[in-house]
């Protein structure tokens, strides 16, 4: 039995925006869930990687506001394993960018609990690249 989901104009726009920004064809996802079972961070996410894909397909704003897209650390495990060849790391990056490009930072580097020079430079640079606009 199949069910048709009618997407409103707003949903469609978001879904297209995610495809454009990620360069990935998100409609290819058939919800097999291998990304979720492979994801080392899934336990700490509010929605699973397969959930990120589903919400992206139907253009649900929930995905843009989720914590999961920030927990994804671009380890590329799902990318390597996706049987549909989708680069999920690019989808997560697109979703982070949708937030960051509104000039909203995800961390406040002026109030860290550690001195910046005690952390490896690559840790600081990558955190800034991923969490700030």
């Amino acid at each position: 039995m199949s069910e048709v989901i009618y997407m409103g104009e707003k949903n469609k726009k978001l879904s297209e925006k995610i495809e454009e920004l990620s360069g990935e064809k998100i409609t290819l996802c058939e919800q097999c869930g291998i990304c979720t079972t492979s994801c080392p961070m899934a336990d700490d996410m509010d929605i699973t990687p397969a959930g990120i894909m589903r919400y992206s397909q139907i253009g649900d704003e929930k995905v843009v506001d989720s914590e999961a897209i920030w927990i994804c650390a671009s380890c590329f495990t799902c990318t390597v394993r996706c049987p549909r060849g989708i680069d999920l790391a690019k989808v997560a990056e697109a979703l982070r960018e949708l937030n960051l490009r509104k000039n909203v930072d995800h961390i406040d580097v002026n109030h860290l609990d550690e001195e910046l020079n005690e952390l490896p430079a690559i840790a600081v640079v990558s955190a800034l690249r991923k969490f700030t606009s």
Binding site: E20, L21, S22, G23, P40, M41, D44, I71, A73, S74, C75, F76, T77, T79, V80, D87, A89, K90, E93, A94, E97, I107, L112, D113, E114, N117, L119, P120, A121, I122, A123, V124, V125, S126, A127, R129, K130, F131
Partner: protein, 303 residues
């Protein structure tokens, strides 16, 4: 001495000085001179993954221009294989190189933008030092240079993410790599299996409020190594090293049953095996690897 261009990256001049020091000494011991790129800049640590990012490729590509210049100016003789040590820098430089050499229009835009630099011609091959050891030197030749085999030392290789993934960038099979195991065996050590050898350590979550994510992964990865009998862990990424080594303190706070384990850069063990113990930089590791290495007789006379 065979000269190669060498890109250190920021962290090798900061928290991972022992990585650079041990690598330079080890390379020299097998006839390789790492010639540091003049005026290199930060690669950006992570690749931008959105389809419209051109700007973020400028920093990596500018470093590749330096390799061309070194050849043009006679610092190198027709050597375009760029050696990296830091896994993250390796990944970013290689990925940007692949992107721009596969996209003539983007390369043109970047070259136009860098109007005070010579054009990047796409001639550089970005390689990791482990690849040089496997493919250029050869693990058999490395084995022949070993002065102090790491006999009976049980070593758990930790690949992390950026040496292996994504597939087109990785230096070995993304799911079943062997390069570190073969490296360990070349040094006379024993590679022990670790099911979490390529599990993400949590990366940059070590910055800020989510560092418990890292500590939980450290707990998992090190406990698996211990269960399989490992004495030490080796890695090639200064961020993984920080997370697996320095974050053991937080791991211990969260899990009182946790036991410390030394985490070393692969080049530190290489330096010891090649008789360059004084350049191994063992004093800089958070969990001191010297007691176990001394106990097994790999370090000089007791102090």
């Amino acid at each position: 001495m065979q000269k190669f261009p060498y890109y250190p990256g920021c962290t090798l001049k900061q928290t991972a000085k022992n990585f650079e020091k041990s690598a330079i000494a080890s390379a020299r011991a097998i006839g390789i001179e790492l010639v540091e790129l003049p005026r290199w800049n930060c690669c950006g640590a992570v690749s931008s993954l959105t389809s419209d990012e051109i700007m973020r490729h400028v920093a990596p590509i500018r470093n590749l221009v330096r390799v061309q210049q070194m050849n043009d100016e006679g610092m190198l003789e027709n050597e375009y294989r760029l050696i990296t040590l830091c896994s993250m820098c390796f990944n970013v430089l290689k990925r940007s190189n692949m992107v721009v050499t596969g996209d003539a229009e983007m390369l043109h835009t970047i070259n136009q933008f860098m109007d005070t630099e010579p054009d990047y011609e796409g001639t550089v091959e970005v390689m990791h030092f482990l690849e040089i050891l496997r493919d250029v030197v050869g693990f058999d030749k490395l084995r022949a240079r070993v002065k102090k085999p790491l006999k009976d030392l049980k070593i758990s290789p930790y690949y992390g993410c950026t040496l292996l993934r994504p597939k087109e960038v990785g230096i070995d099979d993304a799911e079943a790599p062997t390069i570190m195991e073969n490296f360990i065996e070349a040094l006379g050590g024993e590679a022990v299996d670790n099911p979490y050898r390529s599990l993400c350590c949590g990366s940059y979550h070590t910055v800020g409020e989510n560092k418990k994510i890292v500590a939980e992964r450290t707990y998992k990865i090190i406990n698996a190594a211990r269960r399989n009998g490992a004495d030490v862990i080796i890695t090639s990424c200064p961020l993984c090293a920080f997370n697996l080594d320095n974050r053991q303190k937080l791991t211990k706070e969260m899990h009182p049953d946790f036991e410390y384990m030394p985490v070393l850069y692969f080049t530190q063990l290489m330096a010891i095996a090649l008789g360059k113990e004084e350049d191994a930089g063992l004093e800089d590791n958070f969990v001191d690897p010297r007691p176990i290495l001394r106990e097994r007789g790999f370090l000089g006379v007791k102090q």
